[in-house]
């Protein structure tokens, strides 16, 4: 599914470029990277991490700290209820709604 995933990566790149275009954007992006970098690394397996590191460093123009990845957690019971609620409208008209 590399073809489709490429769009998600490019979407992120566009947002990073927009944020880097202003001082306030850059500051806030840097703060967010600081906070979320271990989680971002945790989403990927060992083989894919170096590419993310290289791309992020190139965009930010600086080296990123070598932190320990925080692996993805597991969903708890609350998600089932939330999922039920969030998808109820679509399920109410499986063959497509008519307005």
């Amino acid at each position: 599914m590399d073809r489709e995933e490429a769009y998600h990566r490019m979407h992120a790149e566009m947002w990073v470029d927009r944020l880097l275009a202003t001082d306030e954007g850059r500051t806030r992006l840097e703060e967010a990277v600081e906070e979320l970098w271990p989680y971002a690394l945790g989403v990927l397996d060992d083989a894919l991490r170096p590419e993310l590191v290289a791309r992020a460093q190139e965009k930010l123009g600086r080296a990123l700290l070598d932190v320990e990845p925080i692996p993805r957690g597991v969903h708890e019971a609350e998600l089932a209820e939330l999922w039920e609620e969030m998808t109820s409208v679509r399920r109410s008209a499986p063959a497509g709604a008519r307005w």
Partner: protein, 160 residues
């Protein structure tokens, strides 16, 4: 007795649930039709992963085949073999006429952002001074562009 041609014709009347100007046959998602002993087998491929139109397409095909007096057996191919290159020429024209820029042909090699920034034609005025506004439009398969000449936003079918 139902023939495969009749099945293809019936399926060609099913509009795409999200872009109803083209049919699911124009879209190229119907890969194979087989008729045997009153059962119609249809192989079809999802477009984008998690596309909510998948169920709607399957249900619509089942209903059309039942209308022909046959038993539907719709099989979803769980791979990523569909590409926007499978959209028929007629489908591309219908998209353009409805104000959607049709997808560019798939290029060899990895897709990069720079390729999407410039050079796509506005379906309203024909200008190529258009820019990418957002990669994700109202559905995962469409992106939003903006025409600098006629100053209209328009949607583009993404190439996959």
């Amino acid at each position: 007795v139902v023939t495969t041609d009749e099945v293809w014709e019936a399926l060609a009347e099913i509009p795409d649930p999200e872009i109803p100007v083209i049919s699911i046959v124009d879209l190229g998602v119907v890969k194979h039709v087989d008729v045997a002993d009153g059962t119609v087998c249809v192989d079809f491929t999802p477009t984008f992963m998690g596309c909510p139109a998948l169920d709607a397409m399957r249900l619509a095909m089942e209903a059309r085949i039942a209308d022909l007096g046959a038993t539907p057996d719709i099989r979803v191919r769980l791979d990523d073999s569909w590409s926007t290159d499978d959209i028929t020429q007629e489908g591309r024209e219908k998209l353009r006429a409805a104000g959607f820029a049709p997808p560019a042909p798939r290029a060899a090699g990895k897709l990069e952002l720079v390729q999407l920034q410039r050079g796509f034609r506005c379906p309203y005025c024909g200008s190529t001074s258009t820019r990418l506004e957002n990669l994700f439009g109202p559905t995962p398969c469409r992106s939003i562009r903006y025409c600098e000449d006629c100053r209209q936003p328009f949607e583009q079918f993404k190439t996959i």
